[in-house]
Symmetry: C2
Subunit: 544 residues, 2 copies
Amino acid sequence: MCNVTKKNFTECLSNIKDELKTATFVAIDSEFSGLLSDAEFKSSLFDSGDDRYLKLKSCLQQVIMMEVGLSIFKYDRDTHAFKASVYNFYVFPQPFGSIDARFLFQASSVQFLCLHGFDFNKVMFEGIPYLNVKQEIQIREEIQKGSLFRHLERNISMETERILQNECSKVAEWASTSIVGDDLLLKVYWLGEEPKLMNFILHQEIRRRFHNLWTYTAPEEQVRVVRITESQHKDLVKKGVSKDLEDSVIDALVGFSKIVKLLMEFKKPIVGHNLLLDLLILHNQFYLPLPKTYKEFKASIRLLFPQVYDTKFLSFELKRLLKKEDAWTVNTLQELYNYFKKGKGTCMVIYSPSINFTDDIDESSIKYHEAGWDSFVTGYCFVKIANMFAVYKENKFFQASRMLTCTEIFNAIKHMRGRVNLIRANISNLNLEGDDPLSTRPELLYVASRNFSCPIDLNKVTELFARYGSVDVKPYSSGSALVAVSTHGCAQDILRDFKNSKHLKVSSFNRFKHSPIAKAAVWTGVLAMTSLCSWLTYKHVLKK
Amino acid sequence: MCNVTKKNFTECLSNIKDELKTATFVAIDSEFSGLLSDAEFKSSLFDSGDDRYLKLKSCLQQVIMMEVGLSIFKYDRDTHAFKASVYNFYVFPQPFGSIDARFLFQASSVQFLCLHGFDFNKVMFEGIPYLNVKQEIQIREEIQKGSLFRHLERNISMETERILQNECSKVAEWASTSIVGDDLLLKVYWLGEEPKLMNFILHQEIRRRFHNLWTYTAPEEQVRVVRITESQHKDLVKKGVSKDLEDSVIDALVGFSKIVKLLMEFKKPIVGHNLLLDLLILHNQFYLPLPKTYKEFKASIRLLFPQVYDTKFLSFELKRLLKKEDAWTVNTLQELYNYFKKGKGTCMVIYSPSINFTDDIDESSIKYHEAGWDSFVTGYCFVKIANMFAVYKENKFFQASRMLTCTEIFNAIKHMRGRVNLIRANISNLNLEGDDPLSTRPELLYVASRNFSCPIDLNKVTELFARYGSVDVKPYSSGSALVAVSTHGCAQDILRDFKNSKHLKVSSFNRFKHSPIAKAAVWTGVLAMTSLCSWLTYKHVLKK
């Protein structure tokens, strides 16, 4: 496995590009700075796809990925094997110009990362920078307009300012004795700061201060200063920042987003485990701010990644085809990997492709929740699951009689492309490539207090019903509430047990019957009737 | 210097308490997770104290201190010396119950901390927890109501859940063979999590599951399980969570806030360098959420810290009394320390108290922007500055003729208590103990375009005027702007240089003359006069 930081990113990039070009698929995973816990953002069984997208959008805008795992899987027909190159990227925003990212950390997320030995120093000190496309355009404009320099002043530390001034003094001294055509090479040690960015400021400073000097980029992060005439200087200033300088800055800033651009370019299948959050954050952080609506998001993510597979969704679908005793218990990554690697799954996957690392990985040193390793495990499970679907497709049975081709394997799961697992909502998965599936959850339950004068206590209802399974409760009217229940069994149990409850009236929710307006209408009807009766009675009395 | 993390906090606490009790004063410093950069929150020369408070309040609510430096200075009359105990605390929020802090990191702040070798892992892995008073009350209520457990479930990792279930199995096995009166001691290794908090969950789980067992806290983070009768269990459940268990949880969570409570209790003078932000964040993080208004904040901070001194403010005041050649250049902490320690200041501070560390500090290994060291330097400069004021008070001259007493030294600066430096505002400092001083900034400038058809370009005006010094520009009407200027010299230079400008009309701002309403009134007047004239002319014509 290769750990990638800003120190070795450029080195690794061309390798990664070559591997992506010929890859069969790519598995991803990531670690975030925070998640969601506020009540208003809490996942609920009432949520539709739209609801959930809007909730996630509003609370993920300030969350960032700090570790991204990428496993590039390539199939080799001769050996019927996949080889995986596994990368673990550390990413962190670089302040520059008007861009100075502010992002949320959440105490519980930090605690989770700590428990899994996450290295925060590595991220903060060595994280690869990134810009999404909107930010890239913004910085390009600032460079071209020359407005960047105003913003930048704020972000230079006193120490860096001193180094900058020191270099300028050196240049001034040299300039006083040089003649047109002379040049000077500067190689500056910029403390911990990114040399390309700091050199850019040095270029700007020298060009602005010395009207008979110009600067050029030189190999190995050097700056070449050349003595020219004042009229040449004037001409050069008019032309604005030269393209190579602009590109050099942008190149340093775009950083990890280049990987996302490559993924977009090569359009390989992207595989993740329960990857909805990953997709949203990745879109926002490296591609474009999240679109306003769920529909627009679906369109946008299809442009970015037209082929998405979710192993969590696939594993749920596969489990339905398996006998209970043949399947795994919970659909976590670790459980699935153990199932296929050394558990019952080993006998289910005879003839399936083998999966190896490109380089050596010591499996005893790996840890779950490290994005690189998790991405590999995701890809591993993906191949095994897809193979099982393909075997089943052949003979409606999980006993392979022959080796299946890679195409056969992928064809067996193609219809589940774009389907992404959704936790605790009114549907169990989304469809990124079209309309979401219809809900298969039980009907909502309607709960009312039998005692009219006593308003319903939502917490109590939640506590009472939670014993039966996952439930979410929301108020409906002052005396009633709606309950979303995860399974039909759970709904039936509740209906049965509360049939004769003295305190609560529980029934399947009927939009018309239980509507407060409909109720009001009925009551109005009753009142109208009553009034009419009274009036008739009155008239009758009068007549008497 | 003593680095304090959650590992040694309890150990250090009683020492710190003793030192605080007998301290002469306490110097503080801190490092934050972020600052402010958004345009709407930017400091401006237009800002009054109220304006600034509201700006800071709204953007500091999600910023946290991660490192707090505390230097406890004690004067010794016999040696005429101060001894300082220096502590560097790492603090980090602990998620628990409904409390799961979300806080902002800012890329440029992280970069700044990285350049100064900040250890993020130390903070995140070993940071001391804290609760402000409001959160403490909230958690106490949740414990008493028993509602805590519902919230907690969300925050337990799968690994921890497994440990918990394992312990419960152990207890179940033991319970099956035990008789009333038997007990069992559990000592659990909770991975990286806080044992007191996790033990609390274990207590709750056992009490809930086993109706013939009860739990007690035992020394060394152990849990004592005792076999009791079911009726005893019922009685104990009725009583609710026992006080010792509640206190143990609160004690673990309150953590660093205990230090703040001690500071509040002993009411020693608190010294900081440019400490407005420190005060605001500290108030919010460890005491109470920031009050709505500036006035309420002043009242609240006086309850917390009735005696506050700002060495930045003091150094500005002192500099005014010094000849330019005898003073320091810039009022940064490092510059001031060097001035007093080895610069010109050394001959200014003859007879001043000496200042030593309680324990050895290798001055070659220290680093600025580490909160502990910075707090020491602050206290050091405070003593030296106060002494110079005291010498000056004696003879209006900076040559001490005798050793001054500690009381004389402190009396010389007492009138500057509560005065806190304010950067880039319409006043240069705040007064926490009363009304803010009146502004001594020059009058605002009024800038209008000489060409009526051409709206004023605020960026251009800023650029033009910034050459003269610090300025802030805000729109006044479509064709005019107001400019706040930092110094009278700068204002005069601008007025002089733009007197004959072809494009801009610049003058001192006159609230009446330049008011758009007044202008409209004048124009209305002119129009009225014109109409009258026209009418008279018309009448005159008619008459003819």
